[in-house]
């Protein structure tokens, strides 16, 4: 995992310090850095990256913890789980477009209330989307990151024995929420720490969502870097490289600060837990009550956003303030449908290859670990996370150059290999905890019945792990479907996928076209989730305990 990232980063360091042979510059200079620091918007762009990243991560984490603390194990919890997992499958850009149309002054929410309630015949001139503080961007990120963190927390809960721990805490007279925060969270945290870091790094350096929902005068640093990278004047690439290194520095700094904050909160939390005080019932109720609407708003924002895009894909003329289109038409689908087969096939093929390889690798690692009885150290886990934490803008251009030099670009196989770098960490994460939580005594029982190590794996473990395996597959598949920059840069544009087509059309802003392609993209990513939800039920109709 480290190889491609390190090679890619090296490709950014060169140009940033004046070494770019293709531009006829071979030497060492600080010119790019001077230009970068001379940009008047730099302080605010960097500040925005920081504030958006920290705020989005903090809010997502708070919502996730509140839902888990208040509702884990209840009937409501099952419902929350089912409602949020489809959002996980939605590509970030599609979710951002949906949200933008929902909350804009001319958006669906205002249309629904105009003019009968608001009296507006024309949309109000208020800065909601692309606000200078980046709050709309934070909202868009939260809507996508809460389901991810929930899934990760869920996977970790089994190992942390959340249910029994909570039982003990409650037996000691603690409330549901405070008991969970005091007893379960400390056991859970080491396992969700890395996913949280991934969310922080992603939120700070995201490009597509920030370009749609984020401010633009100035934009966040990552968006500006891509702008420089795409400047027709090729000498700006050096400034982009310097900016990418600065972005990396920011992310590392923020992660370090977050780590220090963790220690601080941990220390305060321990004092709180050891104090033994109890929350009054009203506070418990309020905390429980806050989690649910927060989750509902998150799910609704993403759900209505997608519904809005679906309506657009069938819309005739649809002007403000009509709540629904003047007319309905299949024209958009008829227009794009026929051309969709090729990209859809490429998307599925690449995702299938990358995810299956990732699944195989992850299972092999975990099985080796199981047989040797040794857990990998924290260092190995960090290694796995490097591609998620280092901003894509920082290392992908360098990686492209490497692939070109090695003659590896262009085909499906090399794109799938590039996707693997991003798919593997997610697959490993979602598979590792169920794998490790598996009761060793099953293996002993299998061996006692004469099964070899492989026999135990295939005939005992694999059937029991069907549900987690399918979930891990679905997560990996969705990650692969959503990849834009790796597909474009490594594929040289010669392999169009649903995502590259959707992003290209998104640059044209035609909501009908975006609706069609975003739905197709979301469908491609969601299908495996459906499979993961239904598959075990169908296959294990007569073995209910295996459904999981």
């Amino acid at each position: 995992m480290l190889g491609p990232v390190a090679a890619g980063l090296a490709g950014a360091v060169g140009p940033a310090f004046g070494w770019a042979p293709e531009l006829g510059a071979a030497g060492v200079s600080l010119e790019a850095w001077r230009t970068l620091f001379g940009w008047p918007g730099l302080a605010r762009a960097a500040g925005l990256s920081l504030s958006v990243g920290v705020l989005a991560t903090g809010v997502s984490l708070a919502i996730t913890l509140l839902i888990c603390a208040g509702w884990q194990g209840t009937r409501v919890w099952r419902w929350v789980e089912r409602g949020l997992s489809p959002i996980l499958a939605m590509p970030h850009a599609a979710a951002a477009f949906g949200l933008a149309f929902l909350i804009a002054p001319s958006g669906w929410a205002v249309r629904a209330a105009s003019p009968w309630l608001t009296g507006w015949e024309t949309p109000p001139d208020v800065l909601v989307v692309q606000d200078p503080l980046g709050l709309a961007l934070v909202a868009g990120l939260v809507a996508k990151e809460v389901p991810f963190l929930l899934l990760m927390t869920l996977a970790a809960s089994a190992q942390a024995e959340a249910g029994r721990t909570l039982l003990v805490a409650r037996a000691l007279g603690q409330g549901r929420v405070s008991g969970w925060l005091k007893a379960v969270l400390p056991r859970l945290w080491p396992q969700i720490r890395l996913p949280v870091y991934a969310v922080l790094a992603y939120s700070m350096s995201v490009v597509d969502v920030a370009a749609i929902l984020g401010p633009n005068a100035p934009p966040t640093l990552a968006v500006r870097i891509v702008g420089w990278m795409n400047d027709p004047d090729l000498s700006w690439r050096a400034v982009a490289a310097a900016g990418a290194l600065l972005q990396l520095g920011l992310v590392v700094g923020a992660l370090a600060a977050w780590r220090i904050g963790e220690d601080l909160v941990g220390r305060l939390g321990r004092r709180w837990a050891e104090g033994g005080s109890r929350w009054p019932a009203a506070a418990e109720g309020a905390a429980r009550g806050a989690g649910l609407p927060a989750a509902a708003v998150t799910a609704a924002a993403a759900g209505f956003g997608l519904a809005g895009l679906a309506v657009w894909s069938f819309a005739g003329l649809w002007t403000f303030p009509d709540a629904l289109p003047d007319g309905w038409t299949l024209r958009s689908w008829a227009r794009h449908g026929p051309g969709m087969a090729g990209p859809a096939l490429a998307t599925l093929g690449i995702a299938l290859a990358a995810t299956l390889v990732a699944l195989g690798l992850a299972a092999a690692c975990l099985e080796t670990e199981f047989r040797r009885g040794r857990r990998p150290g924290a260092g190995a886990l960090w290694l796995l996370y490097v591609p998620l934490i280092v901003p894509q803008v920082a290392f992908l251009p360098g990686l492209q150059r490497l692939a070109l030099a090695a003659g590896l670009e262009g085909g499906w196989a090399s794109i799938a290999a590039a996707h693997l770098v991003f798919v593997l960490p997610y697959v490993f994460l979602s598979l590792s905890d169920p794998w490790r939580a598996w009761d060793r005594r099953w293996a002993t029982a299998g061996a006692a019945l004469g099964a070899s190590g492989w026999g135990v794996l295939w005939r005992v473990r694999a059937p029991m792990m069907l549900a987690p395996l399918l979930t891990a597959f679905a997560v990996g598949f969705a990650v692969s479907v959503g990849q834009y920059l790796p597909t474009l840069l490594i594929g040289g544009g010669r392999v169009p996928t649903l995502t590259t087509e959707a992003v290209a059309l998104a640059s044209g802003g035609d909501r009908r076209a975006i609706g069609v392609w975003a739905l197709a993209q979301a469908g491609a990513a969601a299908a495996p989730f459906l499979l993961a939800a239904l598959g075990p039920r169908l296959i294990w109709r007569n073995r209910r305990a295996l459904v999981g």
């Binding site: 001319s106 949309p123 795409n230 090729l234 544009g493 169009p496 044209g508 802003g509």
Partner: protein, 400 residues
Amino acid sequence: MRLFGWVAALAFAAGGAAADPDPADWDAVLEEARGQTVWWHAWGGSVRINDYIAWSAREVEDRFGVRVEHVKLSDTAEAVSRVAAEKAAGEAEDGAVDLLWINGENFAAMKEAGLLFGPWAEDLPNWRFVDVENKPVRTDFTVPTEGLEAPWATAQVVFYHDAARAPQPPRAMAALAEWAEANPGRFAYPQPPDFLGSTFLKQALVELSGGPEALYRPLDEADYEAVTAPLWAWLDRLTPNLWRGGRAYPQSGPRLKQLMADGEIDLAVSFDPNEAASAVANFELPETVRTYVLDGGTLGNVSFVAIPFNSGSKAGAMVLADFLLSPEAQARKADPAVWGAGTVLDVEALPDEARARFEAIEVGVGGIPPEDLGEILPEPHPSWMTRLEEDWQARFGVSR
């Protein structure tokens, strides 16, 4: 600079590359092109342009046996950096890009970095129909093309307004500031360095400065301060009355059109005289939208197709470029029902049958007939655009 092309061609020969096709021997080009696949990198943000490209791909495959694949870019510079990266990696024989839709700064950058194949464009059979007299097909933003790119389409600055909401739009840049004062928040332009946003700045500069000769030469500091002073004063006046008070900008022409469709603005700028008409036909804009030009004339330019130095299908790319220049393809492109981009051909000089195709084109609701487009003002030297974009960034891009 024609010399440069030959030097580059010689360099390939020395490097052991296969001999490049010679457009002067067109039969040999056709022969070589058969069976080749041309990866055409072109902006993919417009459904109707994509459809037109798909049509030309089908025709070229049927007629000449050349397969054409449209690589849909969200920004042309992606392909430019691709070619630059390939050059750095030593990929000189079969790069990812075979044909590129390009103009202005991107062309200037590629030409300067030696990333283009040629000269070839003026040897194309259909070059004889090109209007070399009246259309700027031999210079691209004042930079000589020298046969390194073939003209494809013309564009001209127009404005469109919703006549139901804004019946009296301003007909000059100076009047626009007053109009915005009377209608705050109802006009926007895309954020430079977006192509259309920068063009809007240049249009304002040309008009407000009186269009002095200095604009058409490389930038000179002394001139720059004096010439641009009226522009900045005008922008200071306009900006508080822009959409969102100038605290946010749409990021592109299509996003601007979306604002119009959503009723967030009443007046918009475009670089495509038929954009509004096709949007009406496509249910994107209401039928009350109208297109017009400014009284003092508006900027116009030509966009081109170019072949990178390392294309592995140069013959196929030339065959495609030649087809795109044919009266049939140009007439179809000029039809607002299909795309509506202006032609680079001299329609008057065409054979009767070909001319009839152009004369049969109907202007749709909300469009503007070619004869009403008024005077075309030439583009300033690219150095002005670069400097304007930088200064705009410093003054308006981060100030609020």
